[in-house]
Symmetry: C2
Subunit: 425 residues, 2 copies
């Protein structure tokens, strides 16, 4: 196979790459979450992440990856592989990639010994490996673990060696690296705007707003979708705050006009927070009656700190008997329409409202699958009931899915969306 | 900065690298989940993933990353960047990295046009980009989208170009790539074993079993922790099934002996599945009464398909009044001990058991934070109550955390763990 040499790489300025080290990060179960935190931090000061890598415990592969990243980007952030064992190769690999020696640092070694003494243990000999420092590196202190980090200012690239455990990495990066980085990068004003949208599909959303956001490189636009909840993130990077705000307003206003009332939040608040705020503002209270979602709706409502100010509780009426006894759904109604029906959804909501003595009640009944149940309601068929002051209504939707967790999550999202619409502005 | 050239790379055989393409994959909100699916599939046939990369929409960076991976590994799997726009650079970058031309394929173009016709639309001219094929590539058909994949058998490396949307990638990889890969790699027997553990910390678990698993490179051992639920995964790769089984048994038996009854599952079943199986086997039924977790416990129980066979329902008693009215907790008990107390936890469980007419009932009351509530129970303090035939008991635990979602998830996990222990074997 012939390789065509790649001769030009775009400007390195204000660009960063992130390298996670460790074979354990290459299993089907593990995700490198450190890079998400680091990306968020870097973006806040205007540094863009242009590539991320995960490389196993292999010295030569690591050194090659480091060498390439250092040649292509201004910053390289490395996480993990700083432990005391032979598998921990980050120090060795980076020394090789830089062509600099590792030097034993007695002070670090004493610090690690002291840490072991405080835990009434003797430092194993192998931990001395953690005191090996790359020539010319600055030490980054680690208050939450034994491995110190290292900051290496090269001519073309600044390299940060950080520990793998997230709570160690976060503290070290925030305390030790961010101040140094802020001093290196030109001050940039970064402003973000988030829209949250419900009641449309991701592809409909994208088709509606792509003609707007595609015209702009700045702000950068990201569309996120998760179980029926859609988000549009705009991020503007400018030299002044006013310029960034103006850009956000220019694009944001167009998106706002295109989506209209499908937008339920113009900051990052989720539905359960918005509903909570509306209920608190009017001194109203809320209860639920859930069948198909089995507690998932109440779980979302109570995920909000302080939700006990307006959320009274609820009834998980998984059987017909519980529907009758707990929220007073007449047996005849169940027999006539089946448990998955608009009549039962409305009776559940009305019953929950009365029994719990609240202003508003929301109910969910449906078949979340994966197989049709005795009621013979099709899989994915869900009814939402809403009872409020002078209001009783229901909504029906069939999701073309036998994916139980997905149907349940979509149903809870729809219930919150419907309640939010009824609560008004 | 001087670079020391890296001269030796370990054997490429049976090694793969994965490259996800797209600047949108480099935001703080996005994780490359395709690579987890691909890793699992590759591991099943004995191919190890030695590195993963995410690179933005930059032709030169992409080509460099591809070139390096092709030189270092036998397989390169690329996902994304196959769309019709100018940002979709995977085809161009790979052609450059391989030094092969792109050739227009009329058949593919007609297929895409036909796809548009079926949707009553006319194919935009830019979609013709999706019909550009690398010289010598085999086409991988895409039943779920417009972009076909490509399979390029090079001398040193086999490259797969796959679409980014997970549902397109999964079907294409399973149908088109796996059969070709199976024909290329020597048959290996891969056997896995999973232990699930509750009631100890991740570091205690690792300290207990590391002396065992560290002795073995094969099987490979991974320890996973998520909200109080711990898993140990063993994976043996051998030339014969019997050898793989023997290795798993050798290591698995030692881990089993070291952990004893802390293991609740010797396959991958979670607590809610194991509890469901035990309840069904004896024809027993279950209900819950939840305060702090607000429905999260019932949500987990009902996540199991068929849980309606034993789960009757529950009461989300978020206020004192709901505790009294729904599950009959005496007002005097609440006044004397506070809502977060062992007395109230037991009364909630006993009341739920009676009102729902079930064999077993589990209750949770606690303060999930982030701030202490009116009851002045400390944040992180949780009581679990269990009521069963001739049994009434409670458990208390304080988590040193004001992280509301974490406290709630830990509380639900502990409630299931305690119930599982009471249900016996």
């Amino acid at each position: 196979m012939r390789f065509k040499p790649v001769t030009s790489i775009q400007s390195k300025d204000m660009n960063a790459e992130i390298l996670a080290v460790g074979s354990e990060m290459l299993t089907p179960d593990r995700v490198d979450t450190n890079s998400l935190f680091l990306t968020d931090q870097l973006n806040q000061i205007g540094v863009e992440v242009v590539a991320k890598h995960v490389v196993g415990d292999d010295r030569d592969r690591l050194a090659t990856a480091m060498r390439l990243a250092m040649g292509a980007s201004q910053f390289l952030l490395i996480s993990g592989g700083l432990g005391p064992t032979e598998d921990d190769l980050t120090r060795d690999a980076l020394a090789a990639a830089l062509g600099r020696p590792l030097i034993f640092n007695a002070e670090i070694s004493e610090g690690i010994e002291e840490r072991f003494r405080r835990m009434k243990r003797v430092m194993p000999e192998i931990n001395k490996r953690q005191a090996m420092v790359i020539e010319g590196a600055e030490i980054l202190s680690n208050d939450r673990g034994t491995a110190p980090g290292q900051w290496i200012a090269g001519e073309d690239c600044t390299v940060m060696m950080l520990p793998g455990p997230p709570h160690e990495l976060k503290l070290m990066f925030t305390r030790e690296c961010m101040p140094r980085l802020r001093a290196m990068v030109p001050p940039l004003a970064i402003r973000t705007k988030v829209f949250r949208i419900s009641g449309m599909s991701e592809s409909d959303l994208d088709q509606t707003i792509a003609p707007i956001y595609k015209k702009y490189e700045n702000p950068a636009t990201t569309v996120l979708a998760h179980n029926g909840d859609l988000q549009v993130h705009l991020r503007a990077r400018c030299t002044s705050e006013s310029e960034a705000e103006a850009l956000l307003a220019e694009v944001g206003d167009q998106i706002d006009a295109a989506l209209g009332e499908r937008i339920y939040s113009r900051n990052s608040d989720p539905l359960e927070v918005i509903i909570g705020r509306k209920l608190k503002a009017t001194g109203a209270t809320l209860a639920v009656a859930e069948s198909a979602t089995g507690g998932g709706l109440a779980e979302r409502i109570t995920s909000v700190p302080g939700s006990s100010e307006y959320f009274v509780g609820g009834f998980i009426t998984y059987t017909r008997r519980m529907k009758t006894e707990c929220v007073g759904v007449p047996e005849a109604l169940l027999a006539a329409h089946g448990a998955v029906s608009k009549e039962v959804a409305e009776a559940m909501a009305a019953g929950a409202r009365e029994r719990a003595g609240v202003t508003w009640a929301v109910s969910i009944t449906g078949n979340a699958g994966p197989t049709a149940d005795g009621d013979e309601a099709p899989v994915g068929s869900v009814f939402i009931g809403i009872a409020g002051p002078e209001f009783l209504g229901s909504y029906h939707r069939i999701w073309p899915s036998s994916d139980r967790p997905r149907v349940r999550a979509f149903a809870a999202q729809m219930a919150l969306d419907m309640l939010n619409r009824e609560l008004g502005n």
